[in-house]
């Protein structure tokens, strides 16, 4: 009885170590734009879309371009292959994954948080008007 437990535990430990190593070598760190610019590696950057600057979707090349401000206040120009993600406009936070090419951050993925999970902001309570499309 005892020996089977020992073998089992050893195998289990080896297995866990292999898995951890695999995760560790392929992990993608979070960074701010400064760090991402200085190291040529794929990073994830958390931030929000800069509403004071324009964005555009280039339909000829299927590229979505915008400006983003990371958690430490750094701003960067971001270029991403694909269209504008669904909840982009209403997501207070956005996570992009990619690396820098020169002065542009080339994102392979943009993740926007699902807004239905947000709790209401007080300001929206009053002044609820139906918006008009101009």
């Amino acid at each position: 009885m005892k020996i089977k437990y020992i073998i089992g535990i050893i195998i289990g430990v080896i297995f866990v170590v292999i898995a951890l190593l695999s995760f560790n070598t392929t992990k993608i760190e979070y960074a701010d734009f400064n760090k991402a610019k200085s190291i040529n590696k794929t990073f994830q950057v958390i931030g929000s879309w800069d509403k004071t600057k324009p964005y555009e979707y280039d339909s000829e090349n299927n590229l979505f371009k915008f400006y983003m401000i990371d958690e430490h206040g750094n701003s960067s120009y971001v270029v991403s292959k694909g269209g504008k993600p669904n909840n982009f406009d209403v997501a207070p936070m956005v996570v992009i994954k990619g690396k820098y090419e020169g002065e542009e951050f080339h994102a392979t993925e943009i993740l926007t948080k699902c807004p239905s999970k947000y709790e209401g902001q007080f300001d929206e309570l009053k002044g609820q008007t139906l918006y008009n499309k101009n």
Binding site: T26, Y30, N87
Partner: protein, 763 residues
């Protein structure tokens, strides 16, 4: 007030019922009283649920929860979904479903010796969920939630915030409730395991728990795959599983319960794995609690797009406590009884290289994969706990490990069907196994010749085909003899089919982009695609402009139309549309059309110029034109926030130069002009319109101005729609759905083996 009172009653009745159940084991006559309080608790939950639903349907936005998750523009159908869209309501749904399932549990355990303790622990769980609701209350009023803002008591917002357009789809009424039922059913093996440990029933509890386990695994599996189907059908990225933490946390309990089903079967047949079964019986529910904690506590925060925001310290701690206390309970109970179990164990009939050996091995593999998923999902949170830099794992890890484990699992599964219980003899196995083995080998060779060259896909497909054929073989043999036994084989068949569908659609999909003007046709993948128009739907709602776009897909003799959706909503200020794909399902593939952008082509001569660049006016190429200067005037025009731009143009015809200054109102956010501000270039009878300034982000002097031209006096031609979309071919994806259905059906058929008439082994 009324709702809150009901919730307090739920907690009160739940607590009383739990206590009396605990006492009823030694005093069976008070069981009836415990049941009574259980029914009262359930009735209060039903009452609270009806009350919440009624208030939602009546749009009583003074309740904070209702204000956050519903609005007057929501179709009644989706108002029901508002019930469980947020934390508070989903706790209520969970408690409600738990309590109703408990009604069946009471009947199932009537006069069974595990009745008292099972119901005691079960009611304790319901009580705890209800208790959390006291702190995350769906019946809180807005003036209570925002009490720092001094809202007057009785203030009622005129409208709620509504539901995200991307969720307004009939699936939201299907997937979450089914998932909740699945989660709730995981509670049953947990409480029964605890009860069995207390009562020292190490053998017969397995028979009692099996039907519940099968139902739970079937429904939870169904709920999980329905989520995948919803994502595929609505979200537009063409996939059905993203290894997102919330997805993973629903898969983990399922993997444990499926492993448990097989180890329980081993115990029934050989008497072995007694301790394992107690462990596995409790783990599924514990991981339901873990999943609840991960997704609702805010711990995953930025790393998952699905997770809820931080619910506050109280709820965070309650969820953590929930998980820890029930885990400790289970661990302590098992440890207390471990010596007793060892004494009870008869000489086990467990033989190596036997059927039970294979089943156990398979379960170990499943658990190993579950551990990988647990580690990967918890990694960001754990890494942060240990002060490591925040990181996310590469989801390809799951695919890598998953593929290896699934490959081995499929081979073992097929092989095990030909083994015998409690026998190490492999004598006639190889004779029987040769048919499915050879056929699957042949088919794999055919696939290689036809184009599947990747060795890992080949191996994987071979193992899936082997498992499929083995299960089919045994299934057919049993169809006449023992129809009640075929459940397991159907489920395994389903899993093999699902895996084949996943390999085909995941590994061999092809994709391309297309941009079509109205009525324009282009070809891709052997089909002609034509954009034939759009139609506005749901016109009765003013908070949206929802369009069905029609794309015709044709081959000679066959035409089909898909309807991707472009949905403009005030939810995001009409900034950009929400998009849904159009799917043309065929047997051997899906043609998946995913909208990317809608534009308007103005069908007019157009010119793009940088400042000082010389171009020719398209209507009369002899006229040269140059942007001489571009000036912005400070004061906004007519309070609408737009800015007046004055552009001075130099034109030249036949050597004679002229200057014209045109005025355009430009939106300072989108840098677009408008169609009212046409200016006439007098000498030429040509009207010019500055429609857009395309700013160059890096070098402002390289910005371009977009001009349109028309003849003076003529009206603007009608604009035409331009539709850009991705086309993806997803080969054999429908095998994924077919496999899912087969898997779930298999569980339900297996269930029939344990209905009352057939359950001979009772105490």
């Amino acid at each position: 007030m009324f709702g809150k009172i009901l919730l307090y009653l739920v907690v009160l009745f739940g607590l009383i019922s739990t206590i009396i159940y605990f006492l009823s084991d030694k005093n069976p006559n008070i069981k009836k009283i415990a049941n009574l309080f259980y029914y009262l608790m359930t009735a209060s939950l039903v009452g609270a649920s009806i009350y919440l639903l009624a208030n939602i349907l009546q749009h009583n936005f003074q309740f904070t929860y209702i204000w956050e998750y519903s609005s007057t523009e929501l179709h009644d159908f989706f108002l029901i979904a508002s019930f469980y869209s947020g934390q508070q309501g989903s706790f209520l749904l969970w408690a409600l479903i738990l309590s109703i399932i408990g009604l069946f549990l009471i009947q199932s355990l009537k006069n069974h010796n595990l009745e008292s303790y099972s119901m005691a622990f079960y009611t304790l769980v319901v009580f705890y969920v209800a208790f959390i609701m006291l702190f995350k209350n769906p019946f809180e009023y807005v003036w209570e939630t925002f009490k720092n803002e001094n809202l007057e008591v009785g203030f009622t917002p005129t409208n709620g915030r509504g539901l995200n357009p991307i969720l307004q789809n009939y699936w939201i009424n299907i997937h979450p409730p089914i998932l909740f039922v699945g989660y709730s059913l995981m509670t049953v093996p947990f409480v029964m395991a605890l009860a069995a440990l207390i009562k020292r029933d190490y053998k017969y509890w397995i028979n009692k728990v099996m039907p519940w386990t099968l139902v739970g695994a079937g429904i939870l599996g169904l709920g999980i795959m329905l989520g995948g189907f919803w994502a595929y059908e609505t979200l537009g990225w063409g996939g059905f599983w993203a290894w997102d933490p919330v997805e993973n946390s629903s898969l983990i309990p399922w993997m444990f319960i499926v492993a448990f089903i097989h180890t329980a079967l081993v115990q029934r047949r050989t008497g072995g794995l007694v301790k394992t079964n107690f462990l596995l019986g409790v783990l599924s529910f514990i991981f339901v609690l873990y999943a609840t904690f991960l997704t609702r506590s805010g711990v995953l925060g930025d790393t998952s797009v699905h997770s809820f925001v931080t619910p506050g310290a109280v709820v965070y701690n309650l969820l953590l406590f929930f998980m820890i206390i029930f885990t400790l309970l289970a661990v302590i109970f098992i440890l207390i009884r471990i010596n007793d179990i060892n004494k009870f164990l008869e000489k086990s009939n467990f033989k190596p290289i036997s059927k039970e050996y294979s089943l156990t091995l398979g379960s170990i593999l499943l658990i190993a994969l579950a551990i990988i998923v647990i580690m990967g999902t918890s990694w960001p949170a754990v890494a942060e706990l240990f002060g490591q830099p925040k990181a996310a794992i590469d989801i390809n890890n799951y695919n890598k490990f998953g593929a290896v484990f699934a490959f081995v699992f499929l081979l073992i599964n097929g092989f095990s069907l030909y083994q015998r219980w409690m026998s190490s003899s492999l004598d006639d196995i190889f004779k029987k196994i040769s048919l499915p083995l050879i056929v699957s080998l042949l088919l794999s060779i055919v696939l290689y010749l036809v184009g599947m060259k990747e060795i890992n896909f080949l191996l994987f497909t071979f193992s899936a085909l082997f498992a499929l054929l083995a299960n089919l073989d045994i299934l057919i043999r049993n169809l006449i003899k023992n129809p009640k036994l075929i459940g397991g084989y159907i489920s395994h068949l389903g899993v093999s089919i699902l895996i084949i569908g996943a390999i085909a659609s995941g590994g061999y999909s092809q994709s391309t982009q297309m941009r079509l003007k109205l009525n324009e046709t282009k070809s891709a993948f052997g089909y002609d695609f034509t954009f034939t128009g759009k139609k506005r739907i749901e016109t009765e709602y003013t908070d949206r402009e929802k369009y069905k776009y029609f794309v015709e897909i044709s081959k000679p003799n066959k035409v089909a139309t898909v309807h991707p959706i472009v949905y403009w909503s005030n939810f995001n200020d009409w900034q950009s549309p929400f998009l849904e794909p159009g799917i043309y399902p065929k047997f051997e593939k899906d043609i998946y059309v995913s909208p990317k952008a809608v534009e308007t082509d103005f069908n007019m001569p157009r010119l793009l110029l940088m400042k000082n660049e010389v171009g020719n006016i398209p209507i009369n190429e002899e006229i040269k034109i140059r942007v001489y200067s571009l000036n912005m005037e400070e004061s906004p025009f007519a309070n609408d926030g737009r800015v007046i731009f004055k552009t001075t143009l130099e034109t030249e015809l036949n050597g004679i130069k002229k200057f014209d200054t045109i005025t355009t109102r430009i939106d300072p956010h989108s840098w677009e002009g408008n169609w009212e501000d046409w200016n006439t270039l007098n000498n030429y009878g040509i009207d010019i319109n500055l429609s857009r300034i395309l700013r160059d982000m890096n070098d402002v002097s390289k910005s371009k101005l977009e001009f349109y031209f028309k003849k003076t006096g003529e009206p603007m031609p009608k604009p035409i729609d331009v539709f850009s979309f991705d086309i993806t071919l997803k080969p054999y994806i429908n095998l994924v759905w077919a496999g899912t259905i087969a898997t779930v059906v298999g569980f339900l058929i297996a269930l029939t083996k344990y209905t009352r008439k057939n359950n001979y082994i009772t105490q």
